[in-house]
């Protein structure tokens, strides 16, 4: 079975929990961590490849622990035509992939830092952040 790629998002309370350990021990899953990030607000993001018989049960466990689980999509792009450079996504983005340059206050998107959590997709009032499957 090909490994499934998923994105886990942790709130400050769930960052502390040993969920990865549990996934290995209780659900016997093989884990390959592709990207990991914890921001200063203690919000965490993990991009994983997961394989194993108890894959679904493992995801169910994560959700019960309050961890958000989403499939990994190809990538995110910013539609420059639609972006008004308001900046309101920049404190929603957990990795500063969307950031403000000062003093111009222009908003930039650094694709390399993007962990494809998609938080900006709904938070952007102009629908400028687009999902690429």
């Amino acid at each position: 079975m090909a490994p499934e790629r998923i994105v886990l998002r942790f709130t400050p309370d769930t960052t502390e929990k040993p969920v990865i350990y549990r996934l290995v021990k209780d659900y016997d899953l093989v884990i390959n961590i592709l990207r990991a990030n914890i921001n200063p607000q203690k919000e965490g993001t993990l991009v994983l490849e997961l394989t194993g018989e108890k894959y679904q049960q493992g995801l169910e466990y994560l959700r019960q622990e309050g961890v958000s689980v989403q499939p990994l999509i190809e990538g995110i792009t910013r539609n420059e035509q639609l972006c008004t450079m308001c900046g309101s996504c920049t404190d929603i983005c957990p990795t500063k992939a969307l950031y403000i340059e000062r003093p111009s206050m222009e908003v930039f998107f650094n694709n390399d830092k993007c962990i494809v959590c998609q938080l900006c997709v709904k938070a952007c009032p102009m629908h400028a952040m687009e999902v690429r499957f």
Binding site: T84, C86, G87, D91, I92, M126
Partner: protein, 410 residues
């Protein structure tokens, strides 16, 4: 103002100018125009007197979601005639309790059958603001109308389509725009909240503000010394006018808990202009997750430097302009008085502020690069001689008028 502008060897000794004198210079392509940012730099170097003598007009700008926006549309008459008691444009209802074939489409109206917030937080992907943007882009829009029949208006329904050029009038009329100042919104509760100030993370994890600060129109004419009824402005990429004070125009002077004065707040503008000459770069539909649909409006206000006092206010910097920090999880929705202190726009723009001794990341809702661009476009128009300034028919009420808000009982 005296209008005495004694010219002596080409150097104006007086620092007073009239609207007529400035317009004469604009007409001759001789006016000196600067954006509010440029004026700040000029004043730092040369002082208020020199700035007042040498600069004629200062331009401001703001580009931000402004919910109290909309347009009057007059569709033209069909054969046979219909009164149009109720009207929908792309399934969004426009208010038609007016004369036959007139309607008002509001920026925050959403389509019939939108799931709203039933699957919280709702996305509000399409609304009146988006529809106005599409009209401006000359996109074809579905029109549906019903009416009871009358002897003079016998037709009871119509389904057709229109474009902006096919209808008779389209007048953008925004009853409350260009807020002088705005709250810095935070969330003290343990859950994420979805507001017109964007997504506010739990436990004071971010702060959103919504003003262009030192470029923002009414922060640069805080006591309404030049802006009034009839003032010509940049509106939605075209030319517009100040129609009146905006709704909820309650000009005041902010004071912190120690009584220190922290500048003006509370003014708003009602704006009007021909939608047909605007463009969608500066009139853009917007969606606020869990809150609703709206319209981002670009506005630019010219401020004539009539005297040194006007210059002083127009040259105020971000570090001297303050916003109150307000909790949107409880204080705001429940209308509890008080705030969590004040913070300057310089601090807000730095990306981090301190609230309740906690470091909190900030983000704007209003586009500062957009505001700067608008101030630049308006400067260009005035420098080119295509846009003259207007002496208001009547100035707007200021804080001395002590207008206070009534509270709705119930």
């Amino acid at each position: 103002m005296s209008g005495m502008s004694a010219v002596n060897g080409g150097i104006s000794m007086s620092a007073e100018k009239t609207y007529a004198e400035i317009n004469e210079k604009i007409k001759n392509g001789k006016a000196v125009v600067m954006t509010a940012e440029e004026l700040i730099a000029f004043v730092e170097e040369k002082g208020f007197l020199r700035a007042t003598q040498e600069v004629d007009v200062v331009t401001t700008g703001t580009f931000s979601p402004m919910c109290s926006s909309g347009a009057f549309l007059s569709f033209g008459h069909s054969e046979p005639r219909i009164r149009m008691q109720r009207v929908w444009l792309n399934d969004i209802e426009a208010y038609a309790g007016l004369a036959a074939v007139d309607a008002y489409i509001g920026a925050t109206q959403v389509p019939e059958h939108d799931s709203l917030n039933s699957n919280f937080p709702g996305e509000f992907k399409y609304g009146g603001g988006h529809l106005i943007q599409e009209l401006v882009e000359r996109k074809r829009v579905r029109l549906k109308a019903f009416s009871y029949g009358t002897d003079c208006y016998p037709r009871q329904e119509i389904e057709t389509s229109i474009t902006l050029d096919e209808i008779n009038e389209a007048i953008l009329f925004n009853p409350r725009n260009a807020y002088q100042n705005y709250n810095c919104a935070v969330n003290l509760s343990p859950r994420t909240i979805y507001t017109y100030m964007g997504v506010l993370k739990p436990n004071l994890a971010n702060a959103h503000y919504c003003s262009a600060g030192q470029l923002s129109p009414l922060l640069k004419d805080p006591y309404f010394k030049t802006v009034g009824i009839g003032t010509r402005i940049f509106l939605g990429g075209g030319v517009g006018y100040v129609a009146w004070n905006g709704t909820q125009h309650f000009p005041s002077i902010q004071k912190d808990s120690t009584g220190r004065e922290l500048g003006p707040a509370g003014g708003t503008l009602a704006l009007i202009g021909d939608l047909k000459q605007m463009n969608s770069q500066w009139l853009r539909g917007a969606s606020f997750l869990g809150y609703g649909a709206t319209l981002a409006v670009g506005i630019g206000l010219p401020i004539p430097l009539l005297n040194e006092e006007v210059t002083k206010f127009a040259a105020v910097k971000d570090k001297d302009l303050y916003a109150p920090i307000v909790d949107y999880s409880d204080a705001y929705p429940n209308r509890k008085p008080g705030n969590l202190g004040f913070v300057s726009y310089a601090e807000l723009k730095s990306g981090q502020i301190t609230v309740n001794s906690k470091q909190v990341p900030t983000a704007p809702i209003s586009s500062y690069p957009g505001a700067r661009k608008i101030a630049g476009i308006l400067k260009q128009w005035i420098s080119d001689g295509t846009f003259s300034i207007t002496e208001p028919v009547k100035l707007l009420p200021n804080f001395n008028d002590q207008i206070t808000a009534n509270v709705l009982k119930g």
